[in-house]
Amino acid sequence: MDAGMSNANTPPNLVKRALAGHASIGLLAGALIYLIAITGSIIVIHERWQRWEQPNIAESSILTPAAAQASISAALALEQGLPKTEHLYIRMPTHDLPRAVITTDNKAWYLDGEGRIAGREAHSWTEFIMALHINLTLPVVLGMILVGILGVALAALLVTGVLAHPKIFKDAFRLRARHDPQLARADWHNRLGVWTLPFALAVSLTGAFIGLSYAGAGVLAQAYTSGDLEPVYATIFGEEPEHDAAPAPLPNIARALETVQTRFPETFPTYVVVHDPGTRGQFVQIIAEHPRRLIYGEAYSFDGTGAYVGKVGLSDGTFGRQAAASTYTLHFGSFGGLPIELAYMLFGLALSAITATGTTLWLRKRQRKGLPTRRLNAAWSVVIWGIPLALVLTAWLRALAGPDAPLVAAFWLCIALGLLVAALEPARIQQTWLMKALGVSLAVTGLTHAVYFRVFAAGTMALNLGLIIAAIMIIMIARRSAVAQEVS
């Protein structure tokens, strides 16, 4: 949606039609795209949020092969009376998250440097934000397909947006931020749109790939493998050996880790995956990161004795394998450390701003035409400012009620109530009030966290500082917005 004056001459038909199409897609999908964009910006640094959410867990940057081996027995000893786990994962400590975590089908535990259980992994708020982004908290497959569809909608918005703006490159550096609010909004929308275009195309299409691959795999499974999805995914991610449930000693993952260290010294193990632990059919995979690669890692396979069997070929196999394994890091921005993560956060926030300003431009025009807009305006304010406010409130709920608090229900209840009030009593929804409430809640969150936990880790302090800075900026924008409303 372009309200820039640079395009004041009568636009050709294609431009008009592209504008109409752009507006239609934006109105249909804008709210959910905004939700996905804002949660995506947050979870770029999800490992840092995990540390922030549970700041008092002892950290260790190393988990030796012997300690990793010891952790399996320690974790399985806590599984008495629970269903037998079919998969066991050890997340190795990394720079972003210097905590080892062992996860079974039933529970997840932090490990200390000796491989002993150090506490329950209970970062339910971080996981909730991730679930909002990945599957909108719906059942996983359905939710991921829906998010994939929204990825396509976003990509189509980008294409129609470019078509609708013939002078998009001519105006690429023009930003009249302190001009008329409608003009400033249009300039922000268009300029941010142009310069985040490569990023937005990359994340929308990789997101669509990740989500819609379930549908594609389903089609292939119906056509070629009698509905069985496993052989379809095995073409890319490798096959699992035959199951053999006969009991066997636990696998020798220490030997497997040592083999990776000596045989592939340029790599960094990030995960140890044990399939069917304690059975004769068990096998071990070590996922190891390859520096300066877009692939999320290579999967090195071992048998139960820890003998090397081979690798899947994500790093040097067929092009399809490498390309598929590259979509995840490209989507989540996890391929270049903190600088890339911060850039992804910034671009994600820019995408949120583009989405927010797009529909606001449309609403202002509707208002000007004298069409009924009060309810729509109020509902859009609930989406733009109510969503982040509800995310902060769920963090408070997590802090007060513990990791088992019903965060999903609380979030959707907040949004549903906000939209209900917007529909029934739109005058009660004041955008500047929502903005100020968000700003205050962010500041309270950052300050309370800093004072209560007194954690002096750089990452945690930076997040608290970031929350306070965000709070100040939002309150400043709210005050400016209130002044602009009074004048106009």
Binding site: A3, I149, W195, A208, G216, T225
Partner: protein, 186 residues
């Protein structure tokens, strides 16, 4: 060398900005330097290098936009009638023909489920053509999964620039028919 290539991208963006609307040759030189730097990153570090280079370029451009915002001259909020009209001209509103639920539903059905199926069918046919009589393999499976959202994006964008609902049938048809031909030849 990677650091040098990224530094060159920063210089390239500065040149593009310096030449913007003033010295066309400087801007063109900036774009050329950006292309050379990205190619160098691709040669040095493959897809990773290109991704890092593009992110660096976008980041520098956003810094320039932020600078433009900070140095933007303040203008009075009050505006003339002509200015106001120009401001709102290019925001598209639907024609005033009520809610037109039926038409909107029809458009939705053509753009979402129909085009999804057309793109899926086209991608499936490509998969069949690529694998031939062999078993499923990584290349043909990945190709199908990459092609489907790209084709659907093109169909959706194309359909949404068409004015009549009947015309919106053309893009999915143009994906489905070649899909049939590819499938028959596979």
């Amino acid at each position: 060398m990677t650091g040098v290539a990224i530094a060159l991208i920063v210089i390239a963006l500065v040149l593009v900005r310096t030449g913007w609307g003033r010295a066309r040759r400087v801007a063109v030189a900036g774009w050329a330097l950006a292309v050379v730097s990205l190619s160098g990153l691709g040669w040095l570090d493959g897809a990773w290098g290109i991704a890092v280079g593009v992110i660096a370029a976008c980041f520098v451009a956003l810094l320039m936009i932020a600078y433009a915002a900070l140095t933007s001259p303040s203008r009075p909020v009050r505006r003339s009638a002509e200015t106001t009209a120009a401001l709102f001209e290019n925001v598209a509103l639907p024609e005033n023909n009520g809610l037109a639920i039926g038409r909107r539903l029809l458009v939705f059905l053509m753009v979402v489920p129909l085009s999804f199926l057309a793109a899926q069918w086209f991608a499936f046919a490509l998969n069949a053509a690529m694998k031939g009589d062999m078993a499923l393999d990584a290349n043909s499976v990945a190709l199908m999964m990459f092609v489907q959202p790209v084709i659907w994006t093109i169909l959706m964008a194309w359909q949404m620039t068409l004015s009549g609902t009947r015309a919106m049938l053309l893009p999915p048809a143009l994906a489905a028919v070649p899909g049939i031909l590819i499938w028959m030849l596979a």
